[in-house]
Symmetry: C2
Amino acid sequence: MSPKITVELLRQLRQAMRNSKYLKEPIQAYIVPSGDAHQSEYIAPCDCRRAFISGFNGSAGTAIITEQHAAMWTDGRYFLQASQQMDNNWTLMKMGLKETPSQEDWLISVLPENSRVGVDPWIIAADQWKNMSRALASAGHALVAVEDNLIDAVWEDRPPRPSTPLIALGLKYTGLTWQDKVTTVRAKMAERKISWFIVTALDEIAWLFNLRGSDIEYNPVFFAYAIVGLNTIRLFVDQKRLAEPAIREHLQLDALGRPELSVQAAPYELVHTELQAICAGLGPKEKVWICDKASCALTETIPKVHRTPIPYTPLCLAKAVKNATEIEGMRMAHIKDAVALCELFAWLETEIPKGTVTEISAADKAEEFRSQQKDFVGLSFPTISSVGPNAAIIHYRPLPETNRTLSLNEIYLIDSGAQYMDGTTDVTRTMHFGTPTDYEKECYTYVLKGQIAVCASVFPNGTKGHLLDSFARAALWEAGLDYLHGTGHGVGCFLNVHEGPCGISYKTFADEPLEAGMIVSDEPGYYEDGSFGIRLENLVLVVPAKPKYNYRNRGSLTFETITLVPIQTKMINTEMLTQKERDWLNEYHRQCREITGAELQRQGRKAALDWLVRETQSI
Amino acid sequence: MSPKITVELLRQLRQAMRNSKYLKEPIQAYIVPSGDAHQSEYIAPCDCRRAFISGFNGSAGTAIITEQHAAMWTDGRYFLQASQQMDNNWTLMKMGLKETPSQEDWLISVLPENSRVGVDPWIIAADQWKNMSRALASAGHALVAVEDNLIDAVWEDRPPRPSTPLIALGLKYTGLTWQDKVTTVRAKMAERKISWFIVTALDEIAWLFNLRGSDIEYNPVFFAYAIVGLNTIRLFVDQKRLAEPAIREHLQLDALGRPELSVQAAPYELVHTELQAICAGLGPKEKVWICDKASCALTETIPKVHRTPIPYTPLCLAKAVKNATEIEGMRMAHIKDAVALCELFAWLETEIPKGTVTEISAADKAEEFRSQQKDFVGLSFPTISSVGPNAAIIHYRPLPETNRTLSLNEIYLIDSGAQYMDGTTDVTRTMHFGTPTDYEKECYTYVLKGQIAVCASVFPNGTKGHLLDSFARAALWEAGLDYLHGTGHGVGCFLNVHEGPCGISYKTFADEPLEAGMIVSDEPGYYEDGSFGIRLENLVLVVPAKPKYNYRNRGSLTFETITLVPIQTKMINTEMLTQKERDWLNEYHRQCREITGAELQRQGRKAALDWLVRETQSI
């Protein structure tokens, strides 16, 4: 990995920072956040501005360029990568270390008096703007919105914003028409006396309209904004995408009779002007919903008296609770996904001894098997296919220069998933194709105990996921071990593999309570730097539980596992399991054999079926 | 319980709200918070202003009086009590119910335009002031500080502020001189470049100076403020209390040589003036620490550029981590306390069949036995002595009109504790003196399983207590049961029975990590309205654990139980216990027999010793 040479780029950027074409007055610093105008976790190439200016292309990082300095803040996952990808014009700011200054403190320490710090208000979130602005103001500086993005100004061959074809999903996949969804949202708006709701998150827009695109890799979304009023509904999207008659019909673009349930389409870029016009016409008591993580630019367009920022929009909450059709789709997707993985593992068992399988070729093979399944669309995230020490790197992605060969001597961890028209999958299995050591088995068994503890737990209605996180760790903690990531995240249905507002993590307190119909991952792990990594991940559906009693009629919940891929018993020290854990595992494997087995049979995949039957024997 | 007649009082208060003697301009509403100027949980009679004006004397509530209305906000624990104690001039605002408006919303709905809402800035916390002030401003009203308390103005026979004799604690009890403590605090101040630290919490002041008082019932504290500078230390307290030569010597009041380690004393009332003078002399970059829960008045005295509000002061943190002497004292206090409780339970066993023991007489007997122990000072909180349905009321306190007789047919719950010179105790036991039902035993066993799960848990250094809360509930949850309170709180050493900054509760996220030396309670429960209540409470000391491995050299912690009172085995369904739980209980009872037994023997308390030996048989 050689660093990107940025001398000339930085010179041009600094020139732009003084150029009256973009700015009335020069700025002394320019902030380049990661991310796009929609709070997306994964971003399109045209939005990779921080990577373009610095060379560092990890998923998290903020660059700040002053007249003299260029500095990059990123976290521990990326210290090595950032230092390798950036040239010596850049200073790496290691977040999480005591001696590392915050962006605000650093700016205050290097800026001349009364400086102006610029940022693109479309890619900084409203709350981040507020904090940064306050801190700078307290030291006599000003944070200013630079409407023309200065990276774009110096980025000659910047790719265009993607505008991929849209797919309209029928009731068979969605369970609800978009009109039904709009009606439900409007009822929530009326209940809270809200006149308008500005939708900025791409997965919320895709879910609301029952549309999918492929603008962002792994995420079946498309660039758009939506504004839901009590009687109108507007979609801001590249107009070319609406030429298809099927899409026009789906959105009722040309409907005359029911204006409140036919979409008014407008170009993507016009959202700002349109929102201004709407706000200009608001009555004194009218209120507008916008997510508090939306861009500063759009948020500030709504006058403060009308603005009602919310941490989670009603769409985020509605989308998280899957309806019966979505649940059925997610189940189907997981059966197909299990078929592909059984094929993969059976194949690996045969091929590994030949010494020809690498992390990359195994990942490719997994994708190949998945692509043979019905309604396969693509992967849901880059496959983590990792052997031995590479598996200890939690966010590892195999590259030609790190690619290891699978062998009978090292643990293999594969964390992968796919998008199918009917659902999204995300599964991790850790396997040994030779003979694991007692220590590896011991660690694996702690992880398994944690996974079972979470998915077998029963808890009252209203419980937030973070209250279950410690169940996943208790067995590891007792042995003095732990893992430094959360235990679970929400998963979309043929949508983003990570979604809010629920999850299972010690890190958050602001999650929404778990509800029947939500789907989250259950994925404890254990990682030993330079040696091996273990993670077991199933997706689990929140379902009502029927315990013996029902305190205060609150009702109880538990989980049903929808991932149906065997858990390698060879890696388990069965003596460490309680009878309850043993029963759980045997019952799980019985389901894998019954459900995944039937599908393997149907698809005539004999070798994989044999593998499945052998791997699901009772212990 | 008959309500307090408040017609005349409210008339006088409303007159005061318009009286130019107290106010330049009239106010249209007056807020009466609970609490004193020191964020105290328990308050002195002179500070019970909300109870005086309304009649409602529960521990939590806020009164707001306008020209037309008088309203009281309180939570579910007190709905019944408040409605019984207040006359029909008052409207009860039931917090936690959806239809109940917030104080701000209610004020905005009832106030005429441009109203002025008054509050005593000494008894409203800075952050509460800020929120209320913003909400009122957004609706065109103003929150104004009324320096003269208007309740005091109409309270004719208001008791004087207590000024009880001070006790100086020697090294034998404290382990550290106050000079050592001041030196440590100053090192922390220097590290963070802090020039002054304003101490407002009474228990922090008592702990810092190794002094105790009895100004507030159950809490061995005294009314004071302290200001710690890098070279000076000031104590604001009623000067009469410093007449004793022993106290003068202890505080080095008359020392000439080392001004930085001799206390400068000033009257309690002068803290404001003195803080103003200090702030007037601050250099431009000098900073002042004050707790963010301190009074608005004192907080606002510090100009914003100098003010550094902190959620937990270094004294709060230092006090929470007990030193070796304090730990030894807490252990001793718990042995003495266990002796008293063994006496009580042995006595109850004999007396209950006679039908003469009531909740109140049992509580009195417990106090009598405790008072026979060395260095007994008083109770640490009002004893919860409750039979049958009364035990389902979590914050029950027996009153003549609710007093039930103990019998062989109902469960008895006693939650009690004492202040000894060497430590503070807090213990709950739930007993049946006849034959419990299978259902009662089942519930009791779930609670016990939860208690054991917490205190036997092993967790990494840096873990916050709230991450352990679910361990206490897992067994109950599995049966569809739960309890609606936190699992544990910090406990002071011959100080407040509730102290921060650590605890074990699902309700908080802002607690500080558990550290070796901290002492918290472990008290799950189960309550069935109208029927019975179960709670088991031990105090546990955080100690280093030595598990098999040591991930990333973080080290591990666990708990050691310091309460040594038997857990009634008659109430346990032993079949529901795992072998590990059984072993834990047998080992615990072995310790009770060994340690408490030895002390009972030494004190010649034969009947109680026999009871202890019988109650601690292995199961």
